[in-house]
Point group: C2
Chain length 235, copies 2
Amino acid sequence: MRYQLYYWPMIQGRGEYVRLALEDAGADYTDVARGKGGMSAMMTMMEARKGTPPFAPPFLKAGNLMIAQTANILLYLGARHGLAPKAEAGKMWVHQLQLTVADFVLEIHDTHHPLGPSLYYEDQKAPAKKRTEEFWKSRVQKYLGYFDEIVGANGGAWLTGRRVTYADLSLFQIVEGLRYAFPKRMQAFEKKIPRLTALRDRVAERPNIKAYLASERRIPFNEEGIFRRYKALDL
Amino acid sequence: MRYQLYYWPMIQGRGEYVRLALEDAGADYTDVARGKGGMSAMMTMMEARKGTPPFAPPFLKAGNLMIAQTANILLYLGARHGLAPKAEAGKMWVHQLQLTVADFVLEIHDTHHPLGPSLYYEDQKAPAKKRTEEFWKSRVQKYLGYFDEIVGANGGAWLTGRRVTYADLSLFQIVEGLRYAFPKRMQAFEKKIPRLTALRDRVAERPNIKAYLASERRIPFNEEGIFRRYKALDL
């Protein structure tokens, strides 16, 4: 089946967690909004208020299914492409981990947008600095320490043990993104999460991911996405 | 099966979406942390770093399964208690709606905690006022208008048509919570979401929910939860 992924064409954003899963699986997909007429196709689908309209991108068209919400899309793809355990308990566990990644992603976004997504960063620089301090003081260790310990408790390779899951691919993106957005803070912090940084390297070396990262399909990080490099927010 | 629900004992919070589903289903459950020794049992489980430890409450013990993340718990309960369609497409659609509710819940929480969950409201009153203004200016209409239109497009009773789902129960909680936290703003706003307020009434009249709301099991709203009534943030 050929999938159609709908996501903002200029950023990695939440769509990137889906792209990484599709790429690792070697799935056949079109990144619709990056092609000609794609943006207006995406907007039309979002403005529809019948059927199962998405609230926001990303969303995935898979045959007759239209699936939105990043973690929901990954739940679907994971089952079809061997990126999650088949048994119910394992499937729910990986989904649970992904939902915790999603919570963390929102907190990362809030570091530069504490007053909400409808104002520019430039209009909230002081609260952003304050929120970023709190984020690094009490949130990063809490989230990343949790994932790091789970990797350790399961043998040190992947979150669930010997097989990679979509949640591992997402953790690659988290480490990569924090390195981009907060290079100094992250460098100082990384020694606390050795198993996560090793996991990041293992993901980067997977042949399909390696090819993807080297391709033009991988949009570079920039200051419109989740992970933004603002000097004032780093050390 | 008798479920064990683990959640903070003094607030509705995210646990309430699970409680509403359990109550509507007439499921047999213990609200563990509200009983003797329950808090320490909950903390012990959270601090375990083997098996499938939850990152945060709520979590549900269901036989051998330990499930965390509100939307994940509801996905599980919905399938077992007739609170979601059985077919995959419908199941994913309701889950998608619930994940959008979850996003909105986080934005509601951020109105009083824009600088992060680790600081007190009293330490962030001015940014909270600003964030609340933005929230009512651009977010409430976007989210609630979306759900209101979906109810309308499916016949006007419930989100998916003729049968109630756990996502409908969650929308009851959203309307109820916004009425508590922002009585004046919500009163002025409600005429824009007539189908959602009618849905709220239909949920409140369901016999099991009605009995629950009248019982001591329903914790009253208070200023420790998601929905907080701060005069400075209302009109």
